[in-house]
Point group: C2
Chain length 128, copies 2
DNA sequence: CATAAGGGTTCCAGTAATGGGAAGGTCAAG
DNA sequence: CTTGACCTTCCCATTACTGGAACCCTTATG
């Protein structure tokens, strides 16, 4: 299977698939003409990566998950640890963004937003 | 005022201040020995930048806000538009992260996380 | 047979916003 | 005079790709 076919099956851009090969996440075969040649297992692996990335796991997380996925004897606790750490990161990000949102929506609400130059948003950025 | 003093007053690392000069956000004077020389207005501007960045505005947003801040006659509506757009972005990010969190916390809860190899997290990543 | 379209390949550069570190100039104190 | 704390510029690394140039392969059509 050529790269474009794999791209449409996994939803990953061809560029991204080449990049994943470059960093050692997949290792497709090569046809005589130099084209990458993917089989079912490569596609499966790439689809796994697409889903994990979609859940926000970093590339290095994915590398770890992939290794665990391929290890028939891994402990589910190992996987869970990665997922839990990632969950904690997500929660931190959410908290930070919610704080920003609160401040910003206050500011937007306070600003009359017309043609007059008086603006509480700038005032706030000015003085802290 | 030398750069380290400015760094400690604004909370911005010296590296970042140099970078802000490089991209044209501030233009400190230069002393005879080549050292950057900041005055009150530079510090004020950098403090403004630090606050805006702290609220998650991008550098380009900051450039726009700074221009409006320095324009005595700007319309507050212009500022408000930038802030509202940024607020919308933040809200999108929060929504995306909350979705991830929901999925992930379901998965973490479903995984017994012990020494056995059976793992719902990987299973889910495997099959979508 | 020439050619054009639509694959594929590699490599180089750029993104956002810094951070790290090297190599070297300057300044104040002991 | 030397030490140590500053300052300078310059270049590389980061994350996870994305875009583009230059070039090869395959197939269909005039």
């Amino acid at each position: 299977m050529n790269i474009k076919e794999v791209a449409s099956r996994t939803g990953l851009p061809a560029k991204t698939i080449r990049y994943y090969e470059e960093i050692g996440l997949v290792t497709p075969d090569r046809a005589a003409n130099g084209y990458r040649s993917f089989d079912r297992t490569h596609v499966h692996k790439l689809a796994f990566l697409a889903r994990a990335r979609g859940l926000g796991f970093s590339i290095e997380d994915c590398r770890g998950l992939l290794a665990l996925w391929e290890d028939r004897d891994r402990a589910s606790g190992d996987v869970r640890a990665i997922a839990k750490a990632h969950l904690a990161e997500i929660e931190e990000k959410i908290a930070g963004l919610q704080e920003m949102r609160a401040t910003l929506s206050d500011l937007v609400a306070a600003c009359h937003g017309d043609d007059r130059p008086d603006c509480p948003i700038l005032k706030r950025l000015e003085t802290g």
